[in-house]
């Protein structure tokens, strides 16, 4: 069979694609399913309660993924979103791609999330005084204290997680040392209003 010119062009295009598929880009593609839930550039998707994870400190992401993999997070009842993340953590651990996933998230274009809630910012500021020693005055976090940044996160997710600490859905597992610290301090945010107000204040931090 004699190949016509346009067939050759087709073969070359196919060849280019094959090369692309085999290269490093291929490895990156493997984590596209992170974006499925966490949205474009992992900037979060409230639609399925998947928080923004781009821009989150790699050490904190690793620890949480390890927690999901070990069943420290995502196991207790009343945490549907956590239940969905649990198996993903396990899979990443099992396939030994957990750190590569964290690295991949670090390459994405993080953008500040749009605030989704309103609260009493002045009241929130007072409450936030209890948070500063670990999370910093600007919510910038402090790795030596194992405290992640709070500024620039999905505000609705902060509300959910604070409520989870309050209900013992998070931080109750005895292996969750840092979660236990949060469990202890959550008493300073006794109700829904306190949580909303403190997150409204965190929304003003840059």
């Amino acid at each position: 069979m004699k190949l016509k010119k346009k067939h050759w062009v087709g073969l070359i295009v196919l060849g280019v694609e094959a090369v692309l598929a085999a290269g490093s880009a291929r490895a990156e593609n493997k984590f596209d399913y992170c974006l499925l839930c966490h949205g474009a550039d992992a900037n979060g998707n409230f639609g399925i309660r998947a928080p923004k994870i781009s821009g989150v400190e790699p050490w904190y992401l690793s620890r949480q993924l390890e927690n999901f993999a070990a069943g420290i997070r995502g196991v207790p009842g009343d945490d549907a979103a956590g239940h969905e993340m649990g198996p993903v953590g396990m899979r990443l651990k099992q396939e030994a791609t957990l750190e590569a996933a964290v690295e991949y998230i670090g390459t994405l274009k993080s953008k500040p999330p749009a605030p989704t809630l309103t609260g009493d910012v002045a009241h929130g500021k007072q409450l936030y005084a209890n948070c500063t020693s670990c999370h910093g005055a600007k919510g910038e976090g402090n790795q030596t204290l194992n405290a992640p940044a709070l500024a620039g996160r999905s505000d609705w997710y902060l509300v959910v997680q604070l409520a989870n600490y309050q209900k013992g859905v998070r931080g109750a597992d005895e292996r969750d040392i840092y979660g236990a610290q949060m469990r202890a301090i959550i008493a300073t945010l006794p109700d829904e209003k306190a949580i909303t107000d403190v997150v409204a204040y965190i929304n003003t931090l840059k």
Binding site: A21, N29, M85
Partner: protein, 522 residues
Amino acid sequence: MNRTVSRRGFLNLAGAVGGSTAVYRAAMALGLMSQARAERPDIAALTKPKKVLILGGGISGLTAAYELSRKGYDVQVLEASFRAGGRNMTVRNGDRIDETGFPQVCNFDKDPDLYFNCGPARIPGHHKALLNYCKELDVELEPFINDNRNAWVQDDAMFGGKPIRAREYMTDSRGFVAELMAKSMKPESMTAPMTKDDYERLREYVKYLGNLDPSFKYVGSSNAGLARHDYTAPELLKTPLSASELLKSRFMLIMSFGETDDQAAMMMEPVGGMDRVVAGFLRKVGHLVQLQSQVQAIKVQGKGVEVTYRRNGEYVTAKADYVLNCIPMHLLAGIEHNFPKEYAAGFTAIPRGKLFKIGFQMKERFWEKEGIYGGISWTLQDIQQLWYPAHGIHRKKGVMLGAYTFDPNAGEKFARLAPADRFKLAIAQGEKIHPGYGSYVESGVSIAWHQMNHMLGCAAQWDEALWKKWFKTLQTPVGNHFLMGDQVSYHPGWQEGAMASAHHAIAEIDARERSSKNAVAA
């Protein structure tokens, strides 16, 4: 009961006892119903091609691609997954089940009868659009058995959890209720326009509805199944079951399932699996479908739409005159876009479905020895249903459905477990219906739709309030961007709904092209 019975009251009563079929028949008899049917849009051929990007290669996307591409539209379908079809998904030997946390491979034997329909599995006779495409695309159909009165009903709340035949539950409970109705109906309680003659007819109706004896008492009926099937001896009726036990079960709420509009006989299925429908479309438009292309951004522009997607780890940007977007709304909410705020707000307003299914390959078709050929056994346990295949009858092996949950809590409960534990739970529950059930299981597949890659949800969970508030907004195009899929229909969870949404969108595109004089009449 000393109330009067109006027409509407009678219909409600008939519905409670006889299911919607009884209501339907009664309403037809009273002349209250009419029927209407939507036509497939007649798309005009274009004089100058228009570029159409279809986001998602499920049923709505493939329908639109098929209809538009043959009328001169330049169509490309971007599909995020490694496969086309969306929730129309059939698995066989070696097939991948792409669940985000628990990827699985189907280990059924290699055999054309051993397949499992993970999504849609049945087609009612009035789903005209789908049936027309089946005919046009050479998708061979066979009968599907949905309602089988010989299958089991099991509920821990009645008879100590012992299963009974569906025919016994239905016949005895209807007999009991019909007897009560006959006793409580009085001619003087009938209001106009009910006449004395109506009253007599109504009593006859109730008598036949409940298989009552000439004195309007329920003393058992062969509809419940005979006590023995020895045809050399006189017929022996079963003793009616205790009505108070029957009424303990919430099965009464699903008893009429096989009589509902979409579930009543005659139902059909494609020979060899529901994905033969997808294969039929792909024979026509497969060359237009690009797989593994996950959309990241959509920008509606003055004259068209720009779409950015990831393929092989690269970002690719494409422009089109029209975009037909079938991406599940709950995923669309996480994509970059410039939609109006009030439109995008709808994406997060409609909850996603969390239906869950299990399929088991059984080494023996043990249910046939129990006189069950196709159909559904119902249980009030998490697994909710067992389906028996109507194809491959009397062959050695069969793939049956071992769980199909409608309740999102049950779906979540299964989804949290690793596949092996899902099977364990489903087998333990199945044992209550078929003792020794687990010993027949050779391999299984599980589909947690809300954890499936590129879907993360089953049918959108609309309700009356949501429909009222959001449907029109989401159905109305933004510029040349149209939202599609069964999610934008009044029939979510059905392929017919997906096709209706596609027809609706392409009819609008056709109207625009005709009005800009870029079309020649078909």
